[in-house]
């Protein structure tokens, strides 16, 4: 049983994550107007993905710079040959 404790915890957490969909916690968020709900959905997507996208772009940029620099470091080609 102990071996599967982590899996059980993950399954319970995943199950709990489904509950707030019907909790109606915030009356403004679920005001009933499809326009407001779409706005909330769109801005949530924007605010969630924008930082991840920027971090990914930054990591890719630094990675590209690093690859270029390392390639120069290991360039053993002799221009005289």
């Amino acid at each position: 049983m102990k071996r599967f404790a982590g899996w059980w915890a993950a399954a319970i957490a995943a199950g709990l994550a489904l509950i707030p969909a019907s909790a109606w916690a915030c009356p403004f968020c679920f005001s009933g107007s499809p326009r407001v709900r779409m706005a909330f959905f769109g801005t949530t997507v924007l605010l969630s993905l924008l930082p991840l996208g920027m971090i990914g772009a930054g990591v890719a940029w630094i990675g590209r710079l690093g690859r270029g620099m390392w390639a120069d470091e290991f360039d053993d080609s002799d221009p005289l040959l």
Binding site: L46, P51, G66
Partner: protein, 198 residues
């Protein structure tokens, strides 16, 4: 005694020690990251309030925002970004001083943008749109005002860089940081224009 030549360390560890990115550029990139999130938060709040508005938009008694004039101003700002890009290329070329005219053009267009926005604000204030007159007024002055503060700060940085270039003291690192900040100011504006004005 033979002169001592510095030995350039080789290998990935040495490359990392020398640094992949200039400190000024990296610091500015981190700053711009936080600023992008600030404006994303502003725009998100505005979009939600706008979509939840039960009255006409702009609210009754409030003026319509001058979209056509601001489109012209947007073009000036974008042109300023292009000028600074050209200045950067010239600066990294064989004749760095040749960047002065492009940088001066970028500075002039940036000043035009801020002055024109100021005139627009005065007109809107005269028409009764203030920070407290409506939700539109509150968001307009906070969002566009925050952008204007950034634009003014960037203009000061551009002017200092331009003076340093004229004096032959401008470094690549300084220019890269200023470019990064100005590109942020330029590129965030079309989104603000799209969401707030249109």
């Amino acid at each position: 005694m033979s002169p001592v030549h510095p030995i350039r360390e080789a290998g990935p560890a040495a490359a990392l020690r020398r640094g992949l990115v200039e400190n000024a550029s990296f610091g500015m990139a981190l700053f711009v990251f936080t600023e992008v999130m600030l404006f994303a938060g502003f725009i998100s709040a505005f979009v939600i309030v706008h979509s939840g508005s039960r009255t006409a938009w702009p609210p009754p008694g409030q003026p319509r925002l001058p979209t056509a004039q601001t489109a012209l101003n947007t073009a000036a700002l974008l042109a300023s970004g292009v000028c600074l890009h050209r200045a950067g290329r010239k600066f990294r070329g064989p004749h760095p001083r040749a960047a002065a005219s492009w940088m001066g053009s970028a500075l002039a267009l940036a000043a035009f943008f801020v002055i024109f926005q100021g005139i627009e604000w005065l007109a809107l204030l005269r028409q009764g749109m203030t920070l407290t007159s409506s939700q539109l007024g509150s968001f307009f002055y906070v969002i566009v005002g925050a952008h204007a503060i950034h634009a003014v700060a960037a203009i000061v940085a551009l002017a200092v860089s331009w003076a340093a270039l004229q004096a032959g003291r401008l470094t690549r690192s300084q220019l890269s940081a200023v470019q990064l900040f100005w590109y942020f100011v330029v590129l965030v504006w079309p989104f603000l224009y799209w969401k707030v004005y249109l």
